[in-house]
Symmetry: D3
Subunit: 242 residues, 6 copies
């Protein structure tokens, strides 16, 4: 099988991580996985939500949204509809959990980091691009906090985090699905991994027929390779001058 964009089955799309894309945000990145383009902005505020006050612990959360014309046909705005859809909620929560998986909230102190991930253009894999970009924006925001003297000596980040989608299309396990592949996938899996290769989240869904253990194993292997590569892109981006 040839993929529509000529990639091999285990190949990522072109990855770009443009740091400092915004002037106001403490950390920001425009992340691209092929044509998927997500603007990640990390905002620092002193203090934590009420239920966490006095704990000495910080808080990290995320909000995901899509611009109405990020998609092939225009979608109504959730602000106009007056309510956030289930998918939006679900992805926001996933990104937040993924980031909290590599944060030492006690080293963060009672400060809050909100990472906004706004999809400017969608072509599959928006949640995995968002997580991968959010980590870079978060790192920059934490470096900013360090520069401001807001942090004590310990490391806030315990590792890096990236995410990739994998799926079975026409019986073949593919890495980093574009929209067209995603729609046709029999099984769809999103995997969130740390830089050292452990799992933060595994979400596999049979879209058509249920999948067996062997398919699961081959998808997990493919995702592992993809995340390793994404981790390298993150390191390179953070190593470069902004």
């Amino acid at each position: 099988m040839t993929r529509s964009d000529g990639r091999s089955a285990d190949q990522l799309r072109t990855i770009r991580l443009a740091r400092g894309w915004l002037d106001h945000a403490e950390g920001s990145v425009l992340v691209e996985f092929g044509r998927t383009r997500v603007l990640c902005a990390a905002s620092v505020t002193e203090g934590v939500p009420r239920w966490r006050k006095g704990s000495g612990l910080g808080w990290v959360t995320a909000e995901y949204a899509m611009l109405p014309r990020s998609t092939n046909t225009r979608s109504d705005r959730e602000s106009v509809k007056g309510r956030i859809g289930g998918r939006t909620h679900e992805i926001s929560r996933l990104i937040g959990r993924s980031l909290r998986g590599i944060i030492d909230t006690s080293a963060l102190g009672e400060n809050t980091l909100v990472v906004d991930c706004d999809v400017l253009q969608a072509d599959g894999g928006t949640r995995t691009a968002a997580i991968t970009g959010a980590y870079v924006a978060l790192s920059d925001a934490i470096a900013w906090m360090r520069g401001q003297g807001m942090l004590a000596s310990g490391e806030v980040l315990t590792d890096s985090v990236s995410a990739v989608s994998v799926g079975v299309v026409d019986g073949v396990a593919l890495l980093d699905l574009c929209y067209e592949e995603d729609v046709r996938a029999e099984t769809d899996m999103n995997v969130v991994m740390t830089g050292d290769g452990r799992f933060i989240e595994v979400q596999g869904t049979a879209e058509g027929a249920p999948f067996d253990r062997q398919e699961l194993d081959s998808l997990l292997a493919l995702a592992g390779d993809g995340c390793r590569e994404l981790t390298e892109f993150q390191r390179a981006a953070l190593a470069s001058a902004r």
Copy 2:
């Protein structure tokens, strides 16, 4: 390690499936996983949502909710707050996908099945109890449709579906976590499986430290055993007179 209720690590809680608990619903069951108690009601309506009209295919969806005092301390009603929370959305969508994984929508014809899963009492595992009970309510509703002559000859159900939670607590992989264990789990996984042992959904989350491949494998094995046992409970319940 001894579990708070004396179970062994690979033991389910007491499972009960009380079919026909409601008089009006086409299928209904009060499912209990220990102290977790979920009322599942399957409703049949002719016709399908607008976007599916003329397809010849049916539709199956689910709605999950918790009563305000199902939990240890009272929660505000989502109807009073005027919006559904992310968790509620997420679980409703999961139950719907799980049921659609074993339904042949063409054999269903242009009919809609809605399964309401209302948690009367929560003690961990409400979503897995809901899926396990929803399958039984769905089966009864489909039998009712058959009796009404609403269905053509083909099988609507391609298999059965059940779900169970597994997690790592104090380094030990446990089956079917109660609330107290769920809160303490380092890794939490919900697994939805068909009667023939394939996966419909795998959702694993590191609540504390990320988990490695070995932990993932041991949790999947434990879940496989649990779902097999739940499948037996479902068969027994459906085999008995209502």
Copy 3:
């Protein structure tokens, strides 16, 4: 005239009050008026709403809701619609007023009792069943508070409260209408009474032709008998071991 379920005109349906139906709630009861089944859960919290702080007085309120498939055909969830309907509001307020009619809020101290009344199955008379059950759940919650040492010496409950519907169907005054009778009633009345036979609330509505004073009198007499009988059921339930 014979009633559809064979009752005489002045006969209640089968009444059941299953105390302690929930493990978490401070007081709970599953009340049944025939096929109408309402789960009442009383929750205790220290403190009172802001507008009542410093008054030395407690607060009692109630919330009523119906499960989507409690009715003959499925209704949309109010949480999904994003707003509470007028009928739901009205009944919640009625239950709250009824309970406050027999509570000495100064003996309660600055504590709040919320009684949730969720209709699991509806067959007419859900609001009167809810009030009748809510009193039992409330009593148990107050006993629990007494056991916790949250109350000073005075009596919190000044009396008991129960409620019943009465109506004129085909010119005959009937007690405790089931849904089918309720729909056909020319006049519909809900009466809330204390254990000593006084009124807390009288709500009579002409559904068809207006009613005259004589009809009103016969309905009030019938309701008085019904509430007396319900009071006995409440006493018996509270006298038994949980």
Copy 4:
């Protein structure tokens, strides 16, 4: 006991019914019960709500609301809060039922009448003033329909309808309570009656101690006298040139 405004116990406040207060509405009246001032506007539209189509029957409904500064201290707008309160819902429904109690919907044909009752100034008894005024606005709208040839030959109005509040203050039964009396009332009752003296709605509530049958009887008698008098005011207003 002397009432704050010098009235006797069985005396109505000054009643005014200014017909044709608005230029656009098919029927309108500014009704005053003392300082309580409600603007009632009846709107005619051809057709009925979907659920009533093809029935040959018309529909009458009402909406009640208070201006934010109709009250002694300003209240937030329900449009700004984004939801309608329980009290507003309850009163809107009561007015609608009251009007439907004297309408022959088959003579109305498939037309809809909406009566908006907006409280410009509130001093107790806003719902009873609204019902009393709404009947006059409705009559004028029906006369307008007659003039437009929208109605067949039969009578749409089967009777007139008016409403009054009664209550027990310091042990004395009073007619037509102003706000100050309403707040102090031990028992509060709203009675909706037809022109021929029958009941459409009776709503009695114990605000403090429960009330007995004797109090109920004396309140009903007082309300009967009040409604008779209001019926006369309505007749006089409708008999005069607009």
Copy 5:
């Protein structure tokens, strides 16, 4: 061209300002611009919104709304729709800005004035009538504050404010458009001016073809004359005994 109501191009409609129309509000006026009728009520509260606390400055805001049957055909209530429309928001903000343009918030001290402008009947120019009336209600409320000793010695009002609409209809510049003219206008302009002839707000919109500088100038001149005249009406109203 003759105007539908026989006015000359530069003539206002009949202006009425009925002060003290409400008993509860600290300042109130029923303002009429021909058939347009707006009830303005100014409410005083001690304290300011949170974001302004400790500033020593007061706050003035306004809320505009239309009764459902103020218009020729009935509109749905925004409270029922659960959201405020863009036009309502826009006009509320305009009225608030207009009033703040003539208020010395430091002389007001940390007090809040809310002016509610509810359109009872609409025939074009509701926002300009609202601003013109709101000033009078505001003046009375400030006089009331003065009487209560709530104000220090300085002047709170730095000038008066009024507003008028102007527009080009069939190529002719007209003052104070009624609804019928407003609908036909090629250019529509609302001008808010102080008593001394300066501008607080100029809002000109091409409804059809864009307008050139000459048209703009002639509309501004016409509006200037109109506001001068309205200022006289305001002075006369405030000079008369209430």
Copy 6:
């Protein structure tokens, strides 16, 4: 006076118009006025809203929104708050009117164009940048429609449209205010003009002291020059290859 960024009083910021920034939208542009960055996407759909059906006329509308971290400190999402603020509504309506001012809706046929203007970064003048960019996106979308054969022979665009802000800061009239200047402006004006120099919208607001006719005139002159220059940028962008 020197401006913070060294510009002269009548100088625009650096203007950029990056056409075709999105792959899916029929027309799109990333417009920059200095640090203000707005993504404009024009979406074409066949058909018009219900109220316009059968008219033979097309419809053009716009939606404006700000990303939460487009501003200096993060703002809450309107989708999360569940309601759109007044300012957002107001600007969306302004952009829509501005575009409709240069569209011949009969030449458009029964098609709808929605232009989404999402502010990625805000530094003053977001609404004027949005209008200026929206015109370019609209032009490209109309060219796309032409290419698809969706349009008859007539011209859809009757002219171009651009917008700029002007204001008085420290007594000096300035063109194209950045955020810092906008906050300090005594008078703030947004002017929307056609390519041939006529007005579509003039909105001037006194933020502090009212302004007189002379100030108004000097601001209008400055805006005229600015819009002329922006028109040139638009022409150049549209003339270049995409």
